[in-house]
Amino acid sequence: MKKIYKLENLGCANCAAKMETGIKKLKGVTDASISFMTSRLTIEADEKDMDDIIDNAQQIIKKIERKCRIVK
């Protein structure tokens, strides 16, 4: 399944690219994309793993940009 989230306080384009790379590597993620211009995170993964993946993605995002948050 594909899910779309808004990212809050995404301030740097380079960071968005780094987050995307990190999230793509997460276990269970088939594809992920972050658009800096629209502040959107798109994740494709199995439905049962989705909650875990989102938690892990939030961790990655926070490490790269401290104030950036996934809006659920």
Binding site: I4, K6, E8, N9, G11, C12, A13, N14, C15, A17, K18, E20, T21, S33, S35, F36, M37, T38, S39, R40, T42, K63, I64, R66
Partner: protein, 636 residues
């Protein structure tokens, strides 16, 4: 994201920049003229204290974030690198000061952070502004709905309206959700949906689409789709999600960014350690390597390339061209052949009668067809009645067979008038097979008589669109199921030299594949244009599929990569032009910043330029690249 919040932090930042820049100049100018370190008995400590105050004022947030990056073990984040570069400059100056040498470096440290912050502010501001202006270009989002509940109307958010609810739309308001009119009649402006400048009349029972504007009088609408499923939301979602489907250029940039910073930082380390092992003078080499850190962020490229595509998608939307992903702009730029499905793209789908076949029986065919169609409400039927000049015999019982045609009977006289399926149903053998489905076949008492040739009108914009494309060095090919003569006539009048006639639907796909194979050899792509009604497979198969005038048809939008909301083929050259310029600007935004960065790296490693030049060049080129991407707004 709240805009108010952001502009508050932006204005704080701009105050900080102005304040620290003023302070900085007030220290720098006397320092350069009189040398502050020689003025007091504290020597270098006096200017150090002054510069440090500016440094902290402008850079406290950068230093804090840099500190957090260390904790998170992310040493290649830009705040951290800027922190290292500037602290390095300060440390070198202090070291020189202690050893009684001239203390250059305090000013550099401050200047780097001031320019860095100016660049950051500009980027934030430009991004915010672009986000806002692109959503304004796509101004179809309804902000409220007047829900009818217990005889009163309440203003609610469109998301809270359910299927079956009734909403009132006052004149001047946007229709919030798709539905059916249950009370009132009015004119609707649907320009933002299909580009049609003439308002349409809407009455009780008519279906209306969200996003249109009610012009004259109040309407009451029974909602039949939820907000997320309504036309306006779907179009907006399409545009929003377009940025997720990244172009090859954008994907390349992400990959490039990943290696660029580590490589530059690694080079900086080498520069700081290897040459001084042989030549000594560690201070000078470390100083040169700090300039590397200043240009180690690929930000200018990383931000301006997606921005270029994003603005382009917005500009397309403004022109009723829906692009479903940045990647399709790139592919459109690369298109070498446009394949047009004749009906609905080059021709309007409105009918005119072009005579009868075989010609020697034309009078009989038309006479019989007129009998059958005399009460018809179908546009083709009416065109036949208009085209027939003779008297129409009465007294027939007319039976309308939906989707097939009309069966007219008077005693044992039977006239069949309709499509090929009707003929087959009645077991009529007909020769001169004609794959053009629009033609009307006539049979009389079990005998096949012939057919009325129906053609659709050529769109007025077709010819100029084709000739504009030709000037852009793109080939046009027409596909049609019609007979050779009709195909030739249409092709000639719109100026297409290459066409394929009498095509069955499955031929269209294989011919398209042949063309694609051919173009792929020279690295170019093929674009298929159709109305999306019966050419979905070709739309999906082509490198780029463009459907026209298909708003309201989910299947057509689903099958295509680009949607011309307006049924105007004249928009095609514009789309191609936007694609070409966008790709060119995106490429410029990679090459120019990269060239300048490499130039700075070379000059700094030779000691020709210092950190002043490095930060000036780096921020300057970032601003330049962003301004360059905003040029996309001006494409016409």
């Amino acid at each position: 994201m709240k805009i108010g919040e952001l502009s508050k932090s932006q204005s704080l930042k701009s105050v900080r920049i102005i304040l620290s820049l003023t302070l900085f100049l007030a220290i720098l100018i006397p320092d350069k003229i009189y040398d502050l370190s020689s003025m007091t008995e504290w020597n270098w400590v006096f200017p150090f204290a002054l510069y440090l105050s500016v440094y902290i004022l402008i850079g406290y947030d950068v230093l804090f974030e840099a500190f957090m990056d260390i904790i998170h073990l992310k040493p290649l984040n830009e705040n951290f690198l800027m922190g290292v570069a500037t602290i390095g400059a300060f440390s070198l100056a202090i070291y020189n000061g202690i050893n009684g040498k001239p203390t250059e470096g305090f000013d550099e440290g401050c200047a780097v952070l001031i320019f860095y912050q100016i660049g950051e502010l500009f980027q934030e501001h430009a991004t915010e502004k672009t986000r806002r202006s692109v959503s304004e270009l796509m101004d179809i989002r309804p902000d409220h709905a007047n829900l009818v509940s217990n005889g009163e109307t309440v203003k609610v958010s469109p998301e809270n309206v359910k299927i079956g609810d009734r909403v009132v739309v006052y004149p001047g308001e946007r229709i919030p959700l798709d539905g059916r009119i249950v009370k009132g009649s009015s004119s609707l402006d649907m320009r933002s949906l299909n580009g049609e400048s003439m308002p349409i009349t809407a009455m009780v029972g008519d279906t209306v689409l969200s996003g249109s504007i009610n012009l004259i009088s109040s309407l009451e609408i029974e909602v039949d789709k939820e907000f997320y499923d309504s036309t306006a939301s779907k179009i907006l979602e399409l545009v929003e999600s377009a940025a997720d489907k990244k172009s090859k250029t954008e994907r390349f940039i992400s990959k490039f960014a990943r290696i660029y910073t580590p490589v530059v930082v690694f080079l900086a380390l080498i520069l700081a350690t290897v040459p001084p092992m042989f030549m000594g003078n560690y201070g000078e080499w470390i100083h040169r390597s700090l300039s590397f850190l200043v240009v180690s962020c690929p930000c200018a490229i990383v931000i301006s390339v997606p921005m270029t595509f994003f603005v382009a998608i917005g500009v397309c939307s403004k022109n009723q061209i829906l692009v479903k992903g940045s990647e399709y702009l790139e592919k459109l730029d690369n298109v070498g052949v446009f394949v047009f499905d004749k009906t609905g793209t080059l021709t309007s789908g409105e009918f005119s009668i072009d005579g009868a076949y075989p010609e020697n029986r034309a009078e009989e065919i038309m006479r019989l067809a007129s009998i059958a169609e005399q009460n018809s409400s179908h546009p083709i039927g009416r065109s036949i009645i208009q085209a027939y000049k003779g008297n129409i015999e009465k007294g027939y019982v007319l039976e309308n067979r939906v989707g097939l045609g009309v069966v007219a009977t008077r005693d044992d006289d039977i006239i069949l008038c309709g499509n090929t399926q009707l003929m087959e149903l009645y077991g009529i053998e007909f020769k001169g097979e004609d794959p053009h489905e629009g033609n009307i076949h006539v049979a009389h008492n079990g005998q096949y008589i012939g057919m009325v040739i129906v053609s659709d009108k050529i769109k007025s914009a077709s010819e100029s669109a084709i000739s504009t494309l030709e000037k852009m060095n793109v080939k046009s090919v027409m596909f049609t199921g019609d007979r050779e003569e009709i195909a030739k006539k249409v092709a000639e009048s719109v100026g297409i030299s290459e066409y394929k006639a009498s095509m069955l639907p499955q031929n269209k796909l294989s011919e398209l594949e042949k063309l694609m194979e051919n173009e792929e050899k020279s690295g170019r792509s093929v674009c298929f244009l159709g109305d999306g009604i019966n050419d979905a497979p070709a739309l999906m198969r082509a490198h780029v599929g463009i459907s026209m005038g298909s708003i309201g048809s989910d299947a057509a939008i689903e099958a295509s990569d680009i949607v011309l909301m307006e049924d105007d083929i004249g928009k095609l050259p514009l789309a191609k032009r936007i694609a070409q310029k966008t790709v060119r600007i995106a490429k410029e935004n990679i090459i120019i910043p990269l060239a300048i960065k490499i130039g700075i790296l070379i000059l700094s490693s030779l000691g020709i330029t210092n950190m002043w030049m490095a930060v000036f060049g780096d921020v300057g080129v970032a601003i330049l690249a962003i301004l360059n991407s905003l040029r996309v707004y001006k494409i016409k």
